[in-house]
Symmetry: C2
Subunit: 1005 residues, 2 copies
């Protein structure tokens, strides 16, 4: 969008509408107003066309998966590179209708538009154009043109073209044809725009005109596909004065001459049908297309529109995501959902291209976008669409097997981009090297099975696909002795295409690990459930019992690079060494980087096109502790340019889950408005289906915090500030539930199924048929986390005594005053300070020995601790917390904590003592507190922490918890409440602090 102040499409919950016509925006509108039904797609071009060629208006009609191919020519060739270029080709133009008014040809870019509106009706699935045109010669005519692509009839599209003579009588001519002189187009210079095959593609096999029925059969030159397109016409109103067949070989059609009386109208209904040779024998195509067109034509546009509306009613019933209080968002979500529904193939015959059926971008290729961005949008609403997408991949298994064999690998390797199942990526470092595609597909299958329990899909090829893609990993990776026998995957490219050909990409390895485990688990389950059927499958796949064991062996030893110092996962083995490139410093005119910097200059730095570790965090959240999630996001998010349309939504979801709601809302808006506001300035080539799916996912998985845990639905609902509420429906395991989130509370209603237990803010809620249950969204004090030293007891005295004894033995001056200066100072640093006053210097070995000596003495001393050493007020507080049903944890980074708790005899009051060995980073990192909360099964924001040290309070606050400080304000003043000593602590104090902590925030935030 050039002018952010004037939105192209005004906010409307059920419509996308334009009231200005601008030539330079034409291609953008053509993508936005595209219609489709999963098989047939038509760009929102005008029936009569525009002058100026394909860079002004890119006409496009697509049949999902119908493509032309040609050789890929490399300036420097190598073995195994993708050979076959594939382009979703622009097929016969069925929408063409031209109008001559008193001999003047009507065109949007000629004469003058006195009024104009074009509306995509999201509820009814009809595109409507209305205008009054003053011709250059001064004639006035009114047009109302409606168009639909039948969601109920895969082959059919229909146009209702109404012409009115508002002033005087008019002599009109309507020329309608099936235009076979179509060409593919891609803007040069932008690798995202399209690809190699451009120009005229189809050659005509046969064409015919019989009365009002027109048909043409065309075929591709290289890929060997044939299609037939037929049209039937019905003209009503006006006075017909001529009707001529136009038997043009390349564009057969009909010419109607008619006269309109003043104020009179005529309506031409054109019904078009497409069929192609993938499903039907080529000889039968023309007949089938003609029959389909004629049948639909006989029903008439009005009837087809009613069918369409009924179909969409049902769709919205299942799939709608309703947002209250924000029509801009509502429009984006519904527009996206409709476009996805229009673009996705049905019944496994096709999947969905990155641009759906809306434009030539990315040559109409299928990427992982389908499985990871679009499939989840339908998974919990229309699982049969997800099934179809998986079935489509299953049908491409043989191609994936051939590809793996060509690359000398076992099993199957799916292509990075493709139409017909063969690899079509012409730059392998950012294509074939993205072997994670195998794991992405397996992930989608796993999620699908979890949601539906449809194990029959496994027997229909799903299991073969899963096993063949799993066995690929064993031949692609290697166990590395010098990494302790770790299973490593070298020279791969992860999701982030700004880094290529790396070792042990974290995303790839984690996803491969889960893939291998899922495959092994599935093999075991199938073998148990249906032994004979499994034995036959195993024999067919040459799968012996030992192979899943090897899969698990590789999974268990999978290298997952982690940086102990930063406490984050490494994007790959070498990533963190590279030069940091802060995207904030990159000028807007130098974005996206891929168009302005050499790949080497991008690859060599820490800069991301899209999430990589964060992508794993989104998909496999359960594999990250809360602290790791927070740190990974904090590290990688600022390095990410979002030059991929796949990027903002994932960041939005993760931000929302981490409670960073403002950030999540910013990312969400970017995702949701990607197409309508043309944020990446390339909607001209088609819409961004991944972003559309991403917007839906952000509401469900981000704002509503939806996830599944052991097959149960779990929600942590939050409400964006500008909204009044939102609701959606989720089907899982045979039940369907409506989730309605408002500011303060969430209402769950079971629409289908007898009963269901889900988690709301980690607390179980059981629903029965038809029942509504409402729960609050606000944080609720559920757990109290105690620091140990200085809060539960005071071990400072023992530290002092241990140091004093050591100092005495060494003959170093030391006393209680000197000890005070050691508060909060670590063991080695304390020793250094003490030794500053020693007579001789000590080397590192000696120092280690001395520190060890002090610690052993300290350990002896704390063995003398008794319950009497509990600080004042603590016993009473612990009892009160138990009484109030609150959970209690001790969150100390000391490895001696369990021993001290035992000595204090408060074990019965403490649910969890954090295992310090599992904590990667000490306070002020929030890890020790969020780890305690995690182990208690409580949200961080439902916790309150008590600390006596500055770093401790900082850690509590960083975890998003309420904090109570014990001691002086100078140390713990940042806490929500400060008490002088533990004697002042009681439940009321804690509740007051908790209330204060959450007072500033809205209930839902």
């Amino acid at each position: 969008m050039d002018d952010a102040a004037t939105p192209l499409y005004p906010a409307d919950p059920w419509a996308v509408r334009e009231t200005r016509f601008e030539l330079r925006q034409a291609r953008h509108s053509e993508s936005v107003f595209a219609l489709g039904n999963g098989y047939l797609g038509m760009r929102g071009t005008f029936e009569e066309g525009l002058s100026g060629g394909p860079r002004v208006s890119t006409r496009g009609t697509y049949l999902n998966g119908f493509y032309e191919s040609g050789p890929i020519r490399y300036p420097e060739d190598a073995y195994g590179l993708a050979r076959k270029d594939q382009t979703l080709t622009n097929v016969t133009d069925g929408q063409r209708i031209e109008l001559l008014v008193e001999g003047e040809r009507f065109a949007m870019d000629a004469g003058r538009l006195e009024d104009y509106a074009r509306t995509l009706d999201l509820r009814r699935g009809v595109l409507r154009r209305e205008l009054t045109w003053l011709s250059p010669g001064g004639r006035r005519v009114r047009l109302e043109v409606e168009r639909l692509v039948c969601l109920t009839r895969p082959s059919v599209a229909a146009i209702r073209y109404r012409v009115t003579a508002p002033d005087g009588a008019l002599r009109l001519e309507l020329r309608t044809c099936l235009d076979g002189r179509v060409a593919d187009h891609a803007d040069p210079g932008d690798p995202r725009a399209g690809g190699a095959a451009a120009g005229r593609v189809l050659e005509t096999v046969a064409a015919s005109v019989h009365g009002e029925d027109v048909a043409i059969t065309q075929r591709t030159r290289e890929s060997g596909l044939t299609l037939a397109c037929a049209a039937s016409h019905r003209l009503t109103g006006g006075q017909e004065v001529a009707r001529d067949a136009v038997p043009d070989e390349e564009a057969p059609g009909v010419r109607f001459g008619l006269r309109l009386a003043p104020g009179g109208s005529a309506v031409l209904e054109k019904t078009v049908a497409y069929v192609d040779s993938r499903a039907v024998e080529a000889g039968a195509l023309a007949g089938l297309a003609s029959t389909a067109a004629a049948e639909a034509s006989a029903l008439g546009f009005e009837t087809l529109a009613r069918e369409q509306a009924a179909e969409l009613d049902a769709f919205w019933q299942d799939c709608d995501v309703i947002v209250e209080g924000d029509d801009v968002v509502q429009q984006s979500l519904r527009f996206g959902l409709l476009q996805l529904y229009q673009g996705v193939g049905r019944d496994g015959r096709a999947s969905i291209a990155a641009k759906g059926l809306t434009g030539p971008g990315y040559q109409g290729h299928l990427f992982w976008d389908a499985e990871l961005y679009v499939l989840p949008s339908f998974l919990y609403a229309r699982p049969e669409l997800a099934r179809g997408m998986l079935l489509h991949r299953i049908r491409a298994l043989d191609a994936a097997r051939r590809r793996a064999a060509e690359l000398r690998h076992a099993g199957a390797l799916y292509p990075w981009r493709t139409i017909d199942g063969d690899e079509a990526s012409a730059f392998f470092p950012a294509g074939t090297a993205q072997v994670h595609i195998n794991a992405d597909i397996a992930y989608a299958l796993e999620r699908y099975l979890e949601a539906t329990g449809d194990s029959e899909l496994l027997w229909q090829g799903g299991a073969a696909m899963l096993f063949e893609t799993a066995r690929f990993w064993l031949s692609r990776g290697t166990f590395v002795a010098r990494r302790g026998g770790a299973f490593c995957l070298h020279t791969v490219t992860g999701p982030d295409e700004y880094t290529a050909l790396v070792d042990n990409n974290f995303y790839t390895n984690l996803m491969a690990q889960e893939h291998l485990r899922f495959a092994a688990r599935t093999a075991a389950e199938l073998a148990r459930a249906e032994p004979a059927r499994f034995a036959s499958l195993a024999a067919e796949l040459h799968l012996d019992d030992a192979e899943p064991v090897r899969w698990l062996g590789a999974a268990d030893r999978m290298r997952l690079p982690f940086d102990p110092e930063l406490g984050i996962h490494c994007q790959d083995d070498g990533f963190l060494d590279k030069e940091v490139w802060d995207p904030a410093g990159i000028a807007p005119e130098e974005r996206p980087l891929l168009l302005h910097f050499h790949p080497l200059d991008i690859y060599r730095r820490q800069v991301l096109k899209q999430p990589d570790v964060v992508q794993a965090l989104y998909l496999r959240e359960e594999r990250f502790s809360r602290a790791e999630a927070r740190r990974d996001f904090a590290y990688y998010e600022p390095l990410t340019t979002h030059d991929s349309s796949l990027s903002p939504c994932v960041h939005g979801i993760v931000a929302a889950r981490l409670g960073q709601l403002d950030k999540a809302e910013r990312y969400f808006r970017q995702t949701a408005r990607m197409d309508l506001d043309d944020i990446n300035r390339n909607v001209k080539d088609g819409v961004h289906t991944a972003a559309m799916g991403g917007a839906v996912m952000t509401v469900l998985h981000g704002f509503a915090g939806m996830r599944t845990e052991a097959g149960r639905l779990s929600f942590v609902p939050r409400l964006p500030g500008a909204w009044d509420g939102y609701r959606f429906r989720v089907a899982l395991g045979g039940c369907r539930v409506e989730v309605a989130v408002r500011r303060d509370e969430t209402r769950y209603r079971l629409l289908q199924g007898a009963s269901m237990t889900l988690l709301h803010r980690l607390e179980p809620v059981t629903l029965t048929a038809g029942e509504s249950v409402t729960r609050g969204n606000a944080p609720r004090l559920r757990a109290v986390l105690f620091d140990l030293d200085g809060v539960l007891t005071d071990t400072a005295e023992f530290h002092y005594r241990a140091w004093q004894e050591l100092a005495d033995r060494l003959g170093v001056p030391f006393d209680r005053a000197a000890n005070e200066s050691l508060r909060g100072v670590g063991r080695m640093a304390s020793l250094e300070r003490i030794l500053e006053r020693a007579e001789r210097s000590y080397d590192d070995t000696e120092k280690a020995r001395l520190a060890d000596e002090k610690n052993r003495r300290y350990q002896q001393l704390i063995e003398t601790i008794t319950p009497a050493d509990l600080l004042p007020g603590v016993p009473e507080l612990l009892a009160a917390l138990r009484e109030a049903g609150l959970k209690v944890a001790v969150a100390s980074a000391s490895r001696n904590a369990p021993a001290v708790v035992r000595r204090l005899a408060i074990e019965e009051y403490v649910d969890v003592v954090v295992d310090a060995a599992e904590v990667r980073r000490g306070k002020p990192d929030p890890e020790v507190f969020s780890s305690a909360a995690e182990q208690l099964g409580v949200l961080d924001e439902d916790c309150l922490g008590i600390e006596d040290a500055e770093a401790g309070v900082a850690a509590i606050l960083a975890a998003g918890m309420a904090a109570v400080g014990v001691g002086g304000t100078e140390r713990v003043g940042a806490a929500h409440r400060v008490v002088a000593d533990t004697g002042a602590l009681d439940l009321a104090v804690l509740q007051g602090a908790f209330a204060r902590a959450h007072a500033g925030a809205d209930g839902g935030r």
Copy 2:
């Protein structure tokens, strides 16, 4: 070569000769018999041509650097990729002469050859073909055709075409023309064969025939270059019956009709000249070419041939490498030297393509082959040729600056492959990513300056090139805090093209480090030598005083990856983790790998196309300890496929230097016979200039062990087993010396200069004018290396006492018998054994403390050592060694060794005590011994080591030294001589052992 048993070209020291004509070998012969003079090159095609098209016979005439360009089209494009395809284009065919015998067209592949020979005279530089042909119609004719490309006249080539009628009278027709209908050709499917631009390239501007003089002017379509080609003819003998101009626009020529009496002969001399628009204004080209052709024609072929022979006499005088006793090798070396001389441009107008001027391979591109393989072949013989090559790079500096700027880097980045200075690599991971090219060029410049002292080249642009390429590194690399502030170069590709886009490629980093230092040093030297001139240069380059300081800072902190466990340099940060791919397991039909495996499958494994660390070892030997060199070579050599023709020679040189002469000979043969035996099966596309240079370098730098040390020549001559001797001449710093190596000795003779000191086997030899000095080649006992413990003194007692005290304190049973079992066992392992009998277990911290305690006690105890603790016989032996002038070292891995030597009061007898801190790997690795020899300045093979332990003897033997064992045969029996105790050691024993050690080997090996 298909049939290894029958060499294509019989051994001949001065000729390459074929006596069979085989169509399937035609293209190979065309490359071998190519002629050139550094500007003009002509493939050894037959004047009359062959039928069957370019895949049977690839005609080719080339002007060095004269190219056609076109756009490079990428199936998936990106910013900054090379845009301009460049092809050394096949220019006007000047050699074409057709013969009709009684109307029958003579052709090699028609009729019958009754005898046939074709000879390339290496001494005279003339190609001669002789044959008797029986036509299909039964006529017999004899042909003698000679051809030369004038080394003294850049534009000129000449053909003498003699026809004889051996039987009856014959009516002949000779058709000669300048054929402008030439095309480029590249076999499809092999990235090495050639490139994109194929088909007709030149268009004709003008053509003319005047009497016997013919001329044509042609130009390229895209690159804007024009050339003129002219021919003059002289026909003598026979009876001329017709002479017709053939004014063909595309192939102007002349037709001669003549009759030969029985036994009569006729001779047609055709003299051709080429000039092109890079040096001459386009309008003047035709005139200049005609004049050059006419002048040369007037002199006549015989005179031109004499000029040629004189020129080559001088060339061989300077450049010949004479091998006695092996004509096969002699032929290869001379063939290679001549081809290099024919291919290399003069005076900076051009450099040398990978294929010279002999074929279309690699599109005629210039690579680093020029600087690192060809330049050194001439550097010490014809330094002006090396200067021209460097000047050519200097002239391309602006293009390199533009390229760096395009990639957002400072300074200049030279292209990986190019003709005109712009990057022409269409696959950047194996092209532009090879940024080491900058350092390679700087290396060549450094070597050139060292050899010639020609600092004027620096002022002629050499310094600008050096500084601009150096400053590139600072913008390409980064200081990495988490690697201790190391300067790192990420995402580069090293020389080994079977690994791409890696971090910190060892070769690149080491070469960049040396480049930066050389640049800083040069800046300082120039500033000192000519302050004003330097100030002006610095101002022009915006080079301030601080910049060289930054260069040195980056150099000093350059990351050079090293693996401490293996004791080897890592090819890059991640290389050693990858899966090992043993080339021995790869079937011949799957080689070269690049034609049979996907790049990803190659990159992800440890497999090398060509040397990488070993390349650095060859170029920067001084940066490797002898032990590192041995280990690096032992690790990487077996992983190398030698799929690059650049590979065997470097391995041969390094093997020779490491004393692995058999291996060196195998590699040498592969290199030297690369072209004549068509080892890589692609000579059809041109010869391998790098291998030719590599063969010469192997003799000089490998077998003769030639290197420079602080500006002095140094030799360690070895003689391959099959040879009787070899000799060559070397010019350095104004002196020229002849080096003649025979079996037992080497003779040095100073041919030019007053006096010179060089090193022979690390010992200085001073030569004076005209004088010959002869030195032996055999190993000579020069140094004795003592193990410490058990050889010089016995510290075992002290170890025992230290352990005993510790055991007593811990209350663990221990005695002398138990101590015996600890012999040769390290400190921690000994402790473990002792603690096996302890009552309680000890953790790692405790154990470290205990081991430390024992060592401190041991250190106390050895303070009590006195000279009386020297073992029997040692004092006498040390005195005798000193007396005999032998050097002495103590080679112990103990860090206590210097203290013990001091206590023993033998410092005056010991030249070197190895600093154990510098030793990467203990015995049985030879490092401690070769390190001692290195510090003594003595060859390993001139040393004898004395040891009392098995691992020690193994280490000595692995270092290639003579070994004497002290103690039982069961421990030290592998030594060349074993004595029962040190009392039995004396000089005679050592000399006997040394003689025995070297008895098996030849003197020279």
